[in-house]
Symmetry: C2
Subunit: 506 residues, 2 copies
């Protein structure tokens, strides 16, 4: 496939024709025949996520050594739910959680010697991904808030209705930035809290949550007798890559006496950079933190983690069964959402050891600095607009011809939101046109999303979204992405002419 993002562009509907059979075939097949077939109809039409020009999503390139190790991991087929089917993989996973805990919370030797391998404690939970990690954190927080009390046996046993009645709350709520990840919506849906009880707090001009507005929202909830279960800080928003003011959020959580969770699924890896970890200052005040190793830690898909400040935190979801997870055992399954799980922690362990802090320092710094370089190129180019500055290694921008930029600048000054909306509508079409064509050309890939930039009075605006984590993405490739996008823009005969007509009208 070389460096292109796909061997050849083929519409999904055509690809689907190779996957129409719905009956399991009767006859066994030769492995070689099967392999030949999937090389053509599957592998050739997979996405080259490791291509240096694939800069649209958080799925990272992998170091070569993880491939033979993953084959070994799969072959060993350990099941981490319990010691009997994992043996040494259990202490290994506990060590990985310990190392990630230390990266965040930096406790002393005594702490880790006491709790890292303790049967009745856990420094975190390993899971398939950030969604399960976030759900786990909020599940435990809910169970701790609505715990057993006198005659009441706890929400875990009696359910939400009786729990809220017992504690006298009319409802629970979770406070999070409007940029919070959609997995939080799933979490409150699952937990019976309800999606309307995720209180979406506006962000400032830098896409960071406005803590004053969050405090105000909390007061309003209190007046309505709705208890704030948790504040969630976002450490690396999915769409703009910004980090919430974590220290202030921690202080607010303390005031409200609620759980403080930080969703650092993507941004957490930046803690591995001594130079830039200050960008996540305050994360050590969180009660729980989600980090995905399969995002910026260069581990294959399927390696999520949630870390707990308090080694007793997970007690609120501890469960036992007769044939498994007996009390006092070190079986990891007694304090996780998932049951049977593979030994993915081994690949995180391998990356931490083989790449090391010094290696990650280079990788992370490189990504962040490349994002700053790209931002400068975008700003220097008269026909592009940088929409959000890179705080970590994610930025958004769009193609806006210089003359349109000037006209929009004027409209902004005149607060002519009607005109701005017309510009933005046409620009949205143009951005989508460019993004789709670029993907279809198969040379490079940026993603797109819709955000509400402060400068445009929060009008919804479609932007290109770039995540720079692949160490092989060169400055040349980034420059080429802009050249390609300018060329594609020139092919558009719908939105661009309309934009030019608008300017001419004026």
């Amino acid at each position: 496939m070389g460096d292109s993002i796909a061997a050849l562009e083929k519409p999904l509907s055509e690809i689907e024709t190779d996957f129409q059979a719905f009956e399991i075939p009767t006859q066994p097949r030769f492995v070689s025949d099967y392999t030949d077939e999937i090389m053509q109809n599957l592998v050739a039409h997979s996405v080259h996520t490791a291509a240096p020009s694939f800069i649209g999503h958080m799925t990272s390139a992998l170091p070569y050594f993880v491939l033979p190790l993953s084959k070994m991991m799969v072959g060993l087929n350990q099941n981490l739910v319990k010691i009997e089917t994992s043996k040494a993989f259990t202490p290994l996973e506990r060590q990985v959680l310990g190392m990630m805990h230390h990266l965040i919370y930096d406790q002393d030797t005594d702490f880790y010697q006491s709790w890292m391998h303790s049967a009745n404690h856990s420094l975190g939970a390993f899971c398939s991904g950030g969604t399960v990690a976030n759900i786990t954190a909020l599940w435990i927080a809910r169970n701790q808030l609505l715990k057993a009390d006198g005659e009441f046996k706890g929400v875990s046993r009696e359910g939400s209705l009786k729990a809220l009645r017992h504690y006298g709350y009319d409802d629970l709520a979770i406070l999070v930035s409007e940029r919070g990840h959609y997995s939080l919506g799933k979490a409150v849906d699952l937990l019976g809290i309800g999606r309307d009880n995720i209180i979406s707090i506006p962000t400032d001009n830098n896409n960071k949550v406005d803590v004053a507005k969050m405090r105000q929202a909390a007061l309003e909830l209190a007046r309505k007798n709705i208890k704030v279960l948790a504040i969630v800080g976002v450490a690396g928003t999915t769409e703009t890559g910004n980090v919430d003011p974590l220290t202030e959020l921690a202080a607010l959580a303390k005031e409200l006496n609620c759980h403080f969770h930080v969703d650092a699924a993507w941004g957490g890896a930046s803690l591995l950079s001594n130079k830039y970890r200050h960008l996540l200052a305050g994360i050590e005040l969180a009660d729980s933190v989600t980090i995905d190793a399969h995002k910026q830690m260069y581990v294959p898909m399927g390696a999520g983690m949630v870390l707990f400040k308090d080694p007793e935190f997970a007690h609120a979801i501890a469960h036992h069964a007769e044939y498994i997870l007996r009390r006092g055992s070190k079986d990891l399954g007694s304090q996780t959402l998932e049951g049977s799980r593979p030994g993915m922690a081994m690949l995180v362990h391998a990356c931490l050891q083989i790449i090391g802090r010094d290696g990650y320092e280079i990788l992370i710094n490189n990504s962040l600095e490349k994002a700053r370089y790209f931002a400068e190129q975008i700003k220097a180019h008269e026909d592009f607009e940088l929409v959000t500055e890179p705080e970590l290694c994610l930025l958004t921008y769009r193609y806006v011809p210089a003359r349109v930029q000037a006209a929009m600048q004027l409209a902004c000054e005149q607060v002519d939101t009607v005109k701005l909306a017309r510009f933005n509508e046409l620009l949205d079409g143009l951005t989508q046109f460019i993004q789709k064509h670029q993907r279809e050309q198969g040379k490079s890939f940026v993603s797109r999303t819709r955000i509400q930039p402060a400068r445009y009075f929060r009008q919804a605006t479609v932007v290109f979204r770039v995540v720079l984590a692949n160490p092989l993405t060169s400055h040349d490739i980034l420059n080429q992405v802009l050249v390609e996008q300018s060329e594609i823009a020139a092919l558009d005969n719908e939105f661009l002419p309309a934009l030019m007509a608008m300017i001419a009208l004026k």
Copy 2:
């Protein structure tokens, strides 16, 4: 490691000494050094789950071809949450779900042509394992039951409290056999239903749920204004391998107008045997079915599935986000509990194609027949007692010296439950002694659990538990397991002498 279950037995506390470091190392390491180290401290102390004498758990041996394919799958690092990061893997996963749906529900060509690749439909959800599959099914069922209605926006948006109030229920409940898997407890805990609202229904002498008692329980709940959300049928209990009367349960679910879920995480693979699939008759009446491919389908850990009879079922949890999962897209992530996920479906696809129905027919029949052979050997041996007959390929038994069996038979006839309890208590100690020693000797491994056999008036009884799925497990190996257990029993100088003394007293 040869055929032993572990290279050498080393206490966990000693293994843990190799996993004490809690700081991520500073310096990068050579891959070869790291690999050498983990070969000694990890791989050598992992569990040889593929050993033919490892017959204690459901973790299966793997066909060799899955190893290179898994390396390819990991290397491609696709993210199935959306098309942009998975392309052909998305239709492949939909095909796998279609094939498994067809295996259960056997719908016609039109059905699969209409729904298998339809953007707004799903025949199931692929996930990390059976626990997430069961949670997904019950989550959807809850959201469907407590759906939007007039002013009420649905439990998904407003939460449990308002949902129950709106519909006028005092609580929800789930009815399941006392042998139901512990993941159902996690599911109701998470969903805010509460563990006490899993109504555990007694089983008959064959560990199958008593449907009459379930109906009675449902009537009592109705009197208390508690709505039955779902009936869960178990198709292959984890501890005894029995299948609930699924057809009768389906009829009861219809009477109660509730969801009917079948947890066939382990037993579902038996549908691949034309000879034995009648053992799961009625499964096609289920609204949803959980099957783990990493159990008896010979796929590596991490391949769970839940299948939906109705292609619109998952609408109740559909969610969308701006940068991903746009409405009308074929992104799989809009109808799953998990977010980012690896391309594990490829390994299921490979096994279905390469092994084929004919191959699975041999593998499954072989396992079931081997279990019947082993049961005969246990019954024929005067010092062993078969506690539960194999219905699929799982059985339980224990070592009970012939003279003790005779004395217990008498106690049973005299309904001398006090004496029986004393026997059972000593036998429990002996069973645990044998099981632990056998595991430590490292030649073979059976697991143990605690069940309540009808013949002992439901007294809790510790038993050996054997799952026969590895095609390389020979009759010789099974016979040898009994020889080894008899030899270990003779080493016990606590429980066996006490049992003999009890008999002498009489």
